[in-house]
Amino acid sequence: MLWEIITAVTLSWARIAAAIILSVSAALVVGIYSGISRRVDRIAIPVLDVLQSVPILGFFPIAVYILAKAIPSVGYEIASIFLIFTCTFWNLAFGVYEGARSIPQTVLEVAELSKLSHTERLRKIYIPATFPKVADQLPASLANAFYFLAASEVMALGEAEVRVAGIGTLILRYQEIGNYEGIVLGILATALSIAAVYLLILTPIISYSDKYRFDVIKPAAGATPSLLRGLYSRFKSIQAPLKVESRRISEAAQRLLPTQFVNVKYMRSDLMRLLLIIFIVASLVLLVPRIYANMDDVWAAIMSVAAAGLRLGLTNVGEALAYSFLRVLACLALMTAFSIPLAYFMSEKPRIRASLLPALQMLAAMPSPLIFPIISSLFEAGALTRELGALLLMALGSIWYVFYSTLSGFSRVHSEYLELAEMYKLSSVQRFRYIYIPFATPSLVTGLITATGGAWNTVIVAERLGEGGAIFEVYSPGLGKMMSTLAEMADTAGLVFTVIVMTVFVILVNRLLWRALYDYSIRALRIHEQV
């Protein structure tokens, strides 16, 4: 059994590693180009918004189907990696985007003046400047990958269910056969492996990334008590070879990064426009005859979806949407209320931070099946706790986006501002209000944007939870509950209608509320005009 567990953990890690490497590369490309160019920004960010808001659980079966058909041997593996990718990519992409957008104007001007080519700019400015963001977001991505591990290793294909080998499915199997010893061992092995990766890989990456920060809190050196200092330097000497190793890895990574692939000319607007036109023309040429040939079918499909909308009742759908929106908002409030005080506390107490972070990381990475029993007991207890259970489930899926983004925002506070606070004896509250919060607002908003997407995605599961045959649902209406009921009744038209409603609504809220808030905070705080 031990051997079985170790193999499973290794397999899961291999998939997660592949997904994360993919996520980081894609996030760098997308985030940086959206950050640099208003034109790409205008296209890529809405596309990201849409993709992030489409309920993954909705289009996942389609992807699996296509992949399994195309490459039968490894199709499921790729599908699984793809699903992990969808839980690790967004926060990285938005983090990089935010990093690229908050590079000080002076640095960009220097690049302009020294006539750096696009490739040089990427290598010398954008990638190094956004690297800290990647480092900050990696823990959240990792946590999320584990949280959804079981979901990403189980694939439903019509009636059939395919499970790829991994620790998520193994624990699931142990749960089914009631092998509690196995469950405990599996969790322990997972936790241990996470702790090891955190200490040996993530910590060096994060501390290495400090080199690339424009503003860092410098550790109050010399103030360390001598015993601790002794221990610390011993720890450092153990870490030194690791540091070299991690530097070599990251140098290799820099060489490997697809800077060559992203062709310089891609940025040229005329070429870009040409490509876009070719793309549109090609798709029209390919699609129009088909659509025309099947016009009746297409028409019928549209009609049936519209009919489904009428059948469900627009007020019913609207009401469900409103309830779900309230849940999402409450969930965001919950996440903010948790993240800000904790992140603030940890930034004020760097030593506690150092020991608390790995523990939090392990907590964050607890795969979701492990907390299902707690949630379902909440669901059993009554109406109010049922709402709480749903909120908790939604929050746990994306709270780490908010937390790590806030922490990363707080770590941007320049040490001289803190000295100022110390000199004028600002209280914690004043320090928080005048220094920390303004500095962290852009990151906080980024975290909230990502978390909103995550919360909408989990609404489907959270409002109607299946656990060991029993089904629990919230008493009040909800769009997620509606969708999951429709899916169960195989009402495709109704499902499509609700998916469209949800997607359109989420995009509208993102555009009208979050983006506006983000731009406003950047402007109001004069982040670009930093003195």
Binding site: A221, S233, K236, E419, Q430, V531
Partner: protein, 255 residues
């Protein structure tokens, strides 16, 4: 002059920073110096020798690894509103107006009413000739104006000791001349803070222009190479022979 006349005193102070590799960088080694009452003390030395570190220690921002700092006869433990530091690159908060940036220094004071605070800020805005810029944001100001905002913020708390870290390094000669006149005026004027000033600068002419006494530091770890008293009459004439001689003397001590 006897010992009790020192406003602030460093005795056998040593400090270092721990580097990433685990080693310690010795920045200051057994440094002793005093800042006297009503004194304008200049500190010069090569770049990176530890001048900013010394000012931070004097401000109570850094506790030295060993040695004692006394202020008005008692041991300095942490920061006090009686000592103000003006940073090398003054950290103004981009989201606060000029007035709010200056008022930040008084925000934690509960011995003043809001009205008193407002009046004080107005007074110092006037003194640094920024009346009318109350509601401007830092990015709308020139380098010299930012420096004056920082000066007003450092003085609005009525400090006894003002620590200046290269106050003229980012300024053009004309602006730095007017700023140095302002600093000298506030220090000479007995009704205004501060009592004593410590100024770190690369610009030897400026230091000779302002200081009563100049301490010349050697390269890291910082030690005192020489002490040059400047007993010229004020206001000093930059074109006088004595001035040239003093500037030359300090120059030759550094290089």
């Amino acid at each position: 002059m006897n010992k009790s006349e020192a406003l602030l005193e460093l005795r056998d102070v040593s400090h270092g920073y721990s580097l990433r590799a685990g080693a310690t960088l010795r920045v200051i080694e057994n440094l002793s110096l005093e800042v006297r009452f009503n004194e304008f003390l200049g500190i010069v030395g090569p770049s990176g020798c530890g001048k900013s570190t010394i000012l931070r220690i004097m401000a109570g921002l850094i506790k030295p690894l060993s040695g004692v700092v006394t202020f008005r006869g008692s041991i300095l433990n942490g920061t006090t509103p009686r000592i103000s530091l003006m940073h090398q690159i003054p950290p103004l908060l981009p989201w606060l107006t000029v007035r709010e940036n200056i008022a930040l220094a008084l925000i934690a004071r509960d011995d003043l009413t809001e009205e008193e605070k407002r009046l004080k800020v107005t007074q110092f805005l006037e003194l640094v000739e920024l009346t009318g810029y109350d509601s401007a944001y830092p990015y709308e100001l020139s380098g010299g104006m930012k420096q004056r905002v920082a000066l007003a913020r450092a003085l609005v708390t009525d400090p006894d000791l003002l620590l200046l870290d290269e106050p003229f390094s980012n300024l053009d000669p004309l602006t730095s001349l007017s700023l140095s006149r302002e600093i000298e005026y506030m220090w000479l004027e007995s009704t205004l803070p501060p009592i004593s000033v410590v100024m770190v600068s690369h610009n030897i002419e400026e230091v000779v222009m302002l200081a009563d006494r100049i301490i010349v530091l050697g390269s890291r770890p910082a030690r005192i190479l020489a002490e040059v008293p400047i007993e010229m009459q004020r206001p000093r004439n930059k074109k006088s022979e004595e001035f040239y001689r003093l500037v030359d003397e300090v120059f030759s001590l550094i290089s």
